[in-house]
């Protein structure tokens, strides 16, 4: 009876937190707040402590649990408490100096924003015992790249059976490759200014700093052929699936999921842009040592390879590919063959220029 109860407790805890976050009601929130301290102190007494990790929830969190959380707890005795929340909530915690999470799993744009606001703990590289940080390119003072997703060119194989656009210049060529297109809207994440500049002849290694006006000029050329500027990953997938468009930029995870369900779609990896998912530690993290231990464990080749197998994100640790077969590598943005033909989005540039681009983007959408 006792063991069963204790087995259940962490789960109930997580659920109540989630209820709170979804804002179902103040009553639920108060109830959760009331039960939290008791549960937390009980958990602390039993284990080597815990670490609270922010994730985006969903399938990604399920993969992390299998690939990282469980082996991490087995190896260290530290319990992992996933905390599914949106970015705004973390920003609110930072602002209120009431940080309830240790490790945040965030897109690089968000991480850099937090870094600039002084919200991140400097990472003590000396504490890394399991991971060789030299195997990872994206190591900075405040965050480390965890994995990578890509914005690729996706196309319908029935519309483009014999030949398809192989770069963004050809994407812009509506005579050779007719058909409805889509590109990313700023409300999804970033507008595809880089692709426009590539189409206009800017070399891939000379993209940044972006020539914003030149990019918009090029975007105006393609505007009449854009069915919709997709506003979320789900919308882009829906549009490809229902043949609203036959060609467009799309996140690799979204189109791969459709291809796995036998949709007549394919990816052109050439000139894809990579976005980094990062791990960082929030200033004021309640379990700082455990947070570092978590980073050290999560960035090893093996767990990285496991995450790649489960959700198709590209590992940042180059050694991870020792555990990845060629078939899987062909799906990953960071496999050696894809690394060469794509580029990494410069999150720092975007953090500095997002407001400026936003005003221009609104005007562009409304036909200016």
């Amino acid at each position: 009876m006792k063991t069963r109860l204790e087995h259940r407790r962490p789960r109930a805890h997580r659920l109540s937190r989630r209820t709170l976050l979804q804002g179902v009601g103040i009553g639920a929130g108060l109830a959760a707040a009331g039960t939290l301290p008791a549960l937390v102190s009980r958990a602390r007494a039993k284990t080597a402590g815990k670490v609270i990790v922010r994730t985006g929830g969903g399938a990604y969190e399920d993969a992390l649990r299998k690939a990282i959380f469980e082996p991490f707890t087995a190896a260290t005795g530290i319990e992992v408490q996933p905390f599914a929340t949106n970015v705004a909530k973390i920003a609110a915690m930072v602002e209120a100096h009431d940080v309830q999470i240790d490790v945040a799993d965030l897109g690089e744009f968000t991480t850099v924003t937090f870094e600039k606001r002084g919200a991140l703990e400097k990472i003590d590289r000396a504490k890394f015992k399991r991971t060789n940080l030299a195997d990872i390119d994206s190591v900075t003072d405040y965050y480390i790249g965890e994995n990578t997703y890509a914005t690729v060119m996706g196309y319908n194989t029935t519309a483009f059976a014999s030949k398809h656009p192989r770069n963004w210049a050809e994407f812009w060529d509506v005579k050779r490759f007719p058909g409805g297109r889509m590109l990313e809207d700023m409300s999804a994440e970033f507008p595809n200014l880089e692709f426009a500049l590539l189409a206009d002849g800017v070399p891939m290694d000379k993209l940044y700093p972006l020539d914003v006006d030149r990019a918009f000029k090029k975007l105006r050329e393609i505007r009449p052929h854009i069915t919709k500027w997709w506003t979320s990953g789900a919308v882009s997938a829906q549009m490809l699936a229902s043949k609203d468009v036959v060609l467009g930029s799309v996140w690799n995870g979204r189109i791969l999921a459709l291809m796995d369900h036998k949709a007549p779609l394919a990816i052109e990896w050439n000139e894809c842009s990579r976005q980094l998912q990062t791990l960082c530690i929030l200033k004021g993290a309640p379990n700082l040592e455990n947070a570092l231990a978590y980073l050290d464990f999560a960035l090893q080749p093996k767990p990285q390879a496991e995450v790649a197998k489960l959700v198709g994100y590209g590992p940042t640790n180059k050694k991870a590919f020792q555990f990845i077969d060629a078939k899987l590598a062909a799906r990953l943005p960071t496999s050696p063959q894809h690394l060469k033909i794509g580029f990494t989005t410069n999150a720092r540039w975007w953090v500095d220029h997002r407001a400026e681009v936003n005003s221009k983007w609104q005007a562009f959408l409304l036909g200016e």
């Binding site: 506003t231 919308v235 005003s359 959408l365």
Partner: protein, 299 residues
Amino acid sequence: MQPALAPIPAAEERLSAALAARRGTRSSRTILLILPALLFLGLFFAYPMIDIVMRSLSGAGGFSLAHYGRLVAHPIYFRVFQITFEIALTVTIVTLLFGYPLAYVLVHCGRLAAGAIWACILLSLFTNILVRTYAWMILLAPDGVINQLLGAVGLGHQKLLFNRFAVLVGMTYALLPYMVLTLYSVMRGIDGTLLQAARNLGAGGGRAFWHVFLPLSLPGVVGGSLLVFILAVGYFITPRLLGGAGDQMIAMVIEEQVELGMDWGFASALAILLLLLTLAGFLLYSRFVGLKSLFESKL
């Protein structure tokens, strides 16, 4: 001027005098009764409002008008406000046009039919907005059911999705229940014998409706329209998913600033401007139509 009826007004005067005498104790009791609501509003409405105002007025080094400066420097955001009000107003008018007859039928039809209509209306109200919106994406798709029907009757394929039409369809569908519920509650309170009286006095069905039912249902029309308009002004999921490039609504921009841009100051400035513009519209309305019509559900 009170022939033959003197006892009655006199009695009423005495009564109202007695009531006035008791009013003193009543008002303090009234304050006690509304105190919890006042506290709640103060804590959960006024405080966040003040916080938003402060945010919109603060920059890197304290007080700053930079966020409003950005608004002024980029008139495109005013264009987005204009589109927002355009869409909200159209949705309000369309929900009224659909909702009025629907509420009228609900009030006057049999219990069975009313039950069926209520089920449809409430089902849409209880369905998650994302689910509803994706359902419309599927229905309005180029090879969706509606286009297949249009093709079958020889109207050819139409572009139904990712444009203003789709936004209006999605938002009308989502907001119709609010209009119907408001209208229904007002129409329900209209005394049926008033219509009988109108008929008896020589008005045909149409004129009885025009001279009696319609004026008495106006508080519902005004209340429902206001409710739908204010809700519509804040919509962002439906226009984001169903709309095209030209269907930018201000809440979409605000949401983007909060979730992605993490620029809460600018988001606050946009929110405050939205509030002020909506209030201005409200005042303009009350200036020309009168607030009384809003709050007097029973004349």
